[in-house]
């Protein structure tokens, strides 16, 4: 039973805090860091102190075989991290880059195709954050960490290749 939304922009706050988002915040998925991860990075938002630490492991075929995160922060930053971990399983790193691009595009206001939306799963509820521009950074925190992890991984691979 929904409580009366506040203020004159009725619905606005409910667009932001959709049930699926709050559910992820309350029961985050993959909420544990993995040992010896190939991908690891930390996202920190100095504006609010929110933090997300992200880890992932790759299998022999270069696909993501496991993900885990921890962190602290507002409902949006933590739920976004949780939803993100839900979509990464089994993807190649190029596919991961594709997901990152689509998610960022959605947050920047691009209208996604039905197919693109499907691939983002629960993450589509974060589209409601667009109405609250100051909170977009919260939704992107985990994604920045993920991108850093990807960049770091590529860099170390390149180094390895040039040294051998």
């Amino acid at each position: 039973m929904a409580i009366q939304p506040p203020g004159g922009t009725a619905g606005g706050i409910n667009d932001l805090y959709q049930d699926i988002l709050v559910e992820h915040y309350k029961r985050p998925r993959h909420h544990q860091l993995l040992p010896d991860p190939e991908l690891k990075s930390e996202g920190f938002n100095p504006f609010c102190g929110d933090r997300v630490v992200f880890t992932a492991r790759l299998d022999g075929a270069g696909r993501i075989s496991g993900v885990g995160f921890t962190g602290q922060g507002c409902a949006i930053s933590q739920a976004s991290a949780s939803m993100m971990t839900d979509v990464l399983q089994g993807l190649t790193l190029d596919e991961v880059r594709g997901v990152v691009g689509r998610f960022r595009a959605m947050m920047q206001g691009k209208v996604l195709s039905e197919q693109e939306k499907e691939a983002l799963k629960d993450l589509v509820v974060l589209e409601g954050v667009k109405q609250f521009p100051v909170r977009i950074k919260c939704a992107l925190l985990a994604w920045s960490a993920l991108q850093d992890a990807l960049a770091e991984y590529s860099k170390s691979r390149n180094k390895l290749e040039t040294s051998t």
């Binding site: 203020g7 805090y17 102190g49």
Partner: protein, 412 residues
């Protein structure tokens, strides 16, 4: 005593609506709203006598100069400075502190020396000193804060010792609300021959501050937190101390005579105001000071004790709310930082939908948040135009927010 409901009529912005509800502005520790008189002073300056100060012989330049210097006198009177020589216009508190860091501190700190701040400093009274002490090979030491949020003065005589050259302390914490015993700390600093600086960003706008009685060597504060525009602030310094200081910025207006290879310095306070100053906003600051003086700084303080008590009690009655800092309104400035089960940012967004503006985050006091094990807090801060009715609105909004997020079963 003044009536905040009447004062509100002087502040045009307070009659606006935000997201369909009347604005309840409780972010005064970040910046204050401006009365019509201050806004009018800016319009008057630009419409009637805008001219560069200290330069022209023409009528308008003299008018602008007179008003600029009159504003300086008003500021001197407000803080009970013995003369205008020690009143330097800067951009804000941060610039005032950086001025002292880049002049007095770099000239006087050396290897083995110590400088002291408190654990509750705003980043602006911490980060400049980190650099200066590191460069000098000096040590930055901290007066500790008790779990109740007050300074632990049992270590005053050991932390401030014969090696201490400079002590810089926040007068009222913008996070804990604590009013620090600056007179006592100043006495100790002078006892060991150290200079004493006060960060008055949250005190000068809200209570009587008397630099002569306190005997501080430096006081920094910002205009925008006391009804003036942003971009104008003040460094007060004892003229005798300023005399021994190298200029901070060099250029026009701060010189007496200039040759190709050297220059001599202007008198105080101009020596520390290089380039065209922000005279329009300084003049507006003078008008803001007039406004505050007409209310009476004792009354301003009294109002904030009253509204602070009301807020502390109303928030304290809410089981879900934990207030940070001293529990008694007399021991704190007009602000209250608090935590609930709901993350401050989620709370802030919800309250904003109700027209209530509060601050959320670490309020530029990250180390103290870390020490208390907090990543972020919500903060309501008050000024002369806030009413008890607005505190009721805040409490209603908080209850609604907690019910809303509770309905999502956020709490375990």
């Amino acid at each position: 005593m003044f009536d905040p409901k009447l004062i509100r009529k002087d502040f045009p912005i307070l009659s606006r609506k935000v997201n369909g509800s009347p604005l309840v502005y409780l972010d005064n520790a970040a910046t204050s709203q401006k009365p019509r008189q201050v806004i009018q002073a800016l319009v008057e300056c630009y419409e009637q006598y805008n001219s560069n100060v200290h330069r022209g012989v023409h009528t308008m330049s003299m008018e602008a100069t007179d008003r600029y210097e009159a504003a300086r006198q008003k500021v001197a009177d407000l803080i009970h400075a013995p003369s205008v020589e020690g009143v330097i216009f800067v951009r804000n508190t941060t610039e005032a502190i950086n001025l002292v860091a880049n002049t007095w501190a770099t000239q006087n700190l050396g290897p083995g020396d110590e400088m002291v701040v408190t654990e509750m400093e705003h980043h602006s009274n911490l980060v400049p000193w980190q650099k200066v002490t590191a460069q000098a090979g000096a040590t930055l030491r901290f007066l500790p804060v008790t779990p109740e949020g007050t300074l632990d003065l049992t270590s005053l005589d050991t932390v401030i010792n014969e090696r201490t050259k400079l002590v810089s302390v926040v007068h009222i914490s913008n996070f804990l609300g604590t009013i620090n015993p600056v007179n006592e700390i100043c006495r100790r600093a002078h006892q060991v021959g150290a200079r004493f600086m006060v960060d008055g960003a949250q005190s000068v706008p809200h209570m009587p501050v008397d630099v002569t009685d306190m005997d501080c060597d430096f006081l920094a504060f910002s205009g925008h937190k006391m009804m003036a525009p942003p971009g104008i602030g003040v460094l007060y310094a004892k003229p005798s101390v300023l005399e021994g200081m190298e200029p901070f910025l060099r250029g026009g207006d701060m010189v007496r005579e200039v040759w190709y290879d050297h220059a001599t310095w202007n008198d105080l306070p101009m020596r520390f105001e290089a380039g065209t100053p922000n005279f329009a906003d300084a003049i507006a600051l003078g008008v803001a000071v007039d406004y505050l003086q007409a209310l009476g700084m004792d009354n301003v303080r009294q109002h904030e004790i009253e509204i602070g008590s009301y807020a502390l009690q109303a928030l304290g009655e809410m089981e879900e709310v934990t207030i940070v800092g001293p529990t008694e309104a007399r021991l704190r400035g007009g602000l209250a930082a608090f935590t609930t089960d709901v993350h401050p940012h989620d709370l802030g967004t919800f309250l904003d939908q109700e027209g209530i503006a509060i601050r959320t985050g670490h309020h530029c006091v990250m180390p103290m948040h870390n020490k208390l094990g907090l990543a972020a807090t919500a903060r309501a801060s008050f000024y002369v135009y806030n009413t008890n009715d607005e505190m009721d609105t805040l409490v209603r909004g908080l209850k609604k927010a907690l019910a809303y997020f509770g309905s999502h079963a956020l709490k375990p």
